[in-house]
């Protein structure tokens, strides 16, 4: 057989012939499936937070013996998968077993900051004034209002964005990465490696080996990464911002990289004086 089946126009023709809006959609399918498999539908209900109860008991005890001690933070620990909880700002979280989340008592005074380990999905209530910030042992995620999941261990953080925009900043290299729906970021602290995957692009930054990989990445993202990675200011003409670029570099200077980009794409990226 030939590679004929790969011919894109043939595939487009086949798909188009059968296309119906709102079909072949896994979210809709999952809803229907949940009616035939009821266990899938409802998240197991919250047998929640013995730790809070314990903390409360201790607090009472301490007050009881007359020492003034107000615990300044709350810690939530999920005993089972899909433990659902609402934060004081009415953001909702869904914690997987073993996940821990800590927030200050004055959680939503200025900004909304929580720290966590384990795996937690967030549906953040919108509040433009007070950014919602998730810190993990290795990175920081900053958002306004959106849905995303963070998995954090001691040495790595993984972020999965379901909707909206999220800014992800690993501790080192500290490059603020703007992530949109469908993007997955995986950061491992040990080798300072950040990998960003979106439905049609991939980008990997390694601080240890000083290497950069771009696969179908938009030029504005490439330029943002380069400017933080090499700590230079770069100019990118607006009309070239959405061109896409594929290549990888190890231990190259920023000038070399920019030359390669400009030669490949016929673009005009420049270092600002």
């Amino acid at each position: 057989m030939t590679d004929n089946f790969k011919h894109i126009d043939k595939r487009i023709e086949f798909v188009t012939k059968h296309y119906k809006p709102n079909t072949f959609d896994s979210k809709e399918g999952w809803k229907k499936l949940s009616t035939s498999i009821p266990e899938l539908g409802k998240p197991q209900r919250v047998r929640l937070f013995p730790l809070i109860a314990a903390a409360a008991a201790i607090a009472v005890l301490i007050i009881g013996i007359g020492i003034l001690f107000t615990s300044s933070s709350e810690t939530l620990v999920a005993k089972t998968d899909n433990t659902v909880f609402m934060l004081p700002d009415s953001s909702r979280i869904n914690m997987q077993k073993g996940a821990e989340l800590e927030y200050e008592k004055d959680f939503d005074k200025v900004e909304r900051r929580v720290s966590m380990t384990g795996e937690i999905s967030f549906a953040v209530a919108r509040d433009e004034e007070k950014p919602f910030i998730v810190t993990t042992p290795t990175a920081e995620v900053r958002v306004l209002g959106t849905e995303f999941t963070v998995e954090a261990g001691e040495n790595e953080t993984r972020l999965n964005v379901a909707s909206g925009k999220v800014q992800f900043t690993p501790d080192s290299p500290a490059i603020p990465l703007l992530c949109t729906a469908g993007m997955i970021v995986h950061y491992t602290a040990e080798n300072e490696n950040v990998k960003v995957t979106s439905p049609d692009a991939m980008m990997e930054i390694n601080g240890k080996s000083k290497s950069l990989t771009f696969n179908n990445a938009q030029l504005k993202e490439v330029v943002l990464v380069l400017s933080h990675f090499y700590n230079v200011k770069l100019e990118l003409p607006e009309e070239e911002a959405t061109l896409t670029f594929t290549s990888s570099f190890t231990q190259k200077s920023v000038i070399e990289i920019i030359n390669i980009i400009n030669l490949t794409l016929d673009t005009h990226v420049k270092i600002e004086n």
């Binding site: 057989m1 595939r11 487009i12 086949f14 798909v15 896994s26 399918g29 998968d81 049609d200 692009a201």
Partner: protein, 169 residues
């Protein structure tokens, strides 16, 4: 081998659309294709605690969907003549997967076209309407209609292989 609820959900969301397209090649009808895929997942769920060791859950699902399609076709028409069997072009399973993945991407890209453009594109390419008739029905000029269809085709074609073109083409 066992599958947890969470793994099951991941498999479902990752493979649902491409399996639907795989099934579509057998069933030739989107609703029937979707039914087969749903049934396949229901039976995977029922068997989740008693699965023999499976090397690749994806390959397993592709095979299961194919078998379920063939059973359906056979049961619907007890005597299927050879000519009526779906033409599979003798693709290997890897090729069938690649084809379904490609088509799943295209399906999603059609989902994501701007609404107006998608409507016009479907009128032209799915329903086979002439540009002139689409123009009349939508109140647009023929030129605009043509433009929408071309642009739609461009975005469906382009995204797919762009990634490889820069350095390897």
């Amino acid at each position: 081998m066992q599958i947890s609820k969470k793994q099951f959900s991941v498999y479902y969301h990752n493979y649902y659309r491409q399996l639907c397209l795989h099934a579509l090649h057998f069933m030739n009808d989107a609703d029937e294709a979707e039914d087969v895929v749903q049934e396949t997942f229901v039976s995977l769920w029922d068997k989740r605690e008693h699965l023999k060791t499976i090397k690749s859950i994806k390959a397993y699902l592709y095979t299961a969907v194919r078998n379920n399609c063939l059973t359906k076709i056979r049961d619907a028409k007890p005597t299927t003549s050879l000519e009526e069997l779906p033409n599979q072009d003798f693709l290997s399973q890897d090729e069938q997967m690649e084809r379904a993945e490609m088509e799943a991407r295209i399906w999603k890209m059609i989902d994501e076209l701007p609404e107006r453009r998608r409507e016009i594109f479907l009128m032209a390419k799915r329903d086979g309407m002439r540009y002139k008739d689409i123009a009349e029905q939508t109140g647009l000029t023929v030129k605009t209609v043509e433009n929408h269809v071309l642009r739609a085709m461009q975005s469906l074609r382009a995204k797919d292989f762009k990634a490889y073109l820069f350095f390897f083409a």
